[in-house]
Symmetry: C2
Subunit: 177 residues, 2 copies
DNA sequence: CCGGCCATGTAATGTGTTACATGATTTA
DNA sequence: TAAATCATGTAACACATTACATGGCCGG
């Protein structure tokens, strides 16, 4: 979460990160959206070239010593807005942890307890990170800050719910065995 | 959730659903694991044949008029237990709703409100279903019932968290605009 | 000057869905 | 008997990751 290339006294989150190289796009997605989105280089580089050909993104090497930086064009921004308005594609659920717990009787109580403890610990760790990020974004003043808080808040609620679920379920399993 | 082919006074959830055809396997996965897992026919049929060749599953047409039914073999059960013990493969996150909200400043406040209302409504509907299922499974007495309750409980906690998040976020957006 | 990070790409590979084709059986 | 449901399968396609190859730049 260290801010390379950060401008002092910045007001805009987006301004701060533009233009970017494919590499920094990947880093930023991991750092900022990591809780709910991911992209691999295998997607990013070909897509970037496709977007340049389509005029939605333009190379912009301004003041960099290495790497090609890109910035979104006005047409690209229009396309982005259109894409954001499209219906959300349904992603088929696939929760390996719940699948294993569902077969708990096959798996054994000990392994299930371990799964639940692991789930609780992961949520506790995630919660701490999100709380830090929440505090950080709360101090930002640009137009998008309120929306970034909404996404972080989703993570906070989800993490707290998972912690409560894990504890409750551990107690229930201990009672029943 | 109607139980075709159900035996009266059943005590075991698994016993009730074995042997099964590829078709009923798919239906059951949707009905029972639908909240956290999914499989398509394109996966199920080839896999079933592979498992038969590997001796992990065996055809068993007992008392059926149409379709091939299968049941798990002892070797198959051992394999299942081993698979359940394997580390959970990390699935890269991809939450289209949070991605859209993250770009809320591009998308516009109205569309974001719609997304949040939709999210809240979906969670309310899901919560009702899960509460019904929870009550149903609570009455079951077989060894696996406690674990099935754990998975349903995960859904309950997640749904309640999503409802709270949506309401809180709607209030926050209304305040800030 | 070397280790770690920045940076770019692609080929292989796996995975899984969707769409379609086909027909049997049950039920209204 | 017509419609709905049960049932089986596959081919095409989209998507995405992983692994690898390659090299420049910068701080200690």
């Amino acid at each position: 979460m260290t801010r390379r290339y950060g401008t002092e006294g910045r007001q805009s989150w987006a301004r701060d990160r533009e233009p970017m190289t494919g590499y920094t796009i990947r880093q930023t997605i991991q750092e900022v959206l990591g809780q709910f989105w991911s992209e691999s280089y295998g997607q990013i580089y070909p897509t970037l070239h496709r977007l340049v050909r389509a005029g939605l993104v333009a190379p912009d090497a301004q003041g960099r010593t290495s790497g090609t930086t890109f910035r979104i064009t006005p047409a690209g921004r229009r396309r982005l807005r259109a894409l954001l308005r499209e219906p959300i594609p349904a992603t088929p659920p696939r929760n390996g942890r719940l699948l294993r717990l569902f077969f708990g009787a096959e798996l054994g109580a000990d392994a299930c307890v371990a799964l639940l403890e692991e789930a609780g610990a992961a949520a506790v760790a995630g919660l701490a990170t999100l709380e830090r990020e929440h505090a950080e974004v709360e101090r930002e003043t640009d137009a998008g800050a309120a929306y970034r808080l909404v996404t972080i808040s989703a993570g906070l609620h989800a993490a707290r719910a998972q912690i409560a679920w894990a504890e409750e379920s551990l107690a229930a399993l201990r009672r029943s065995t």
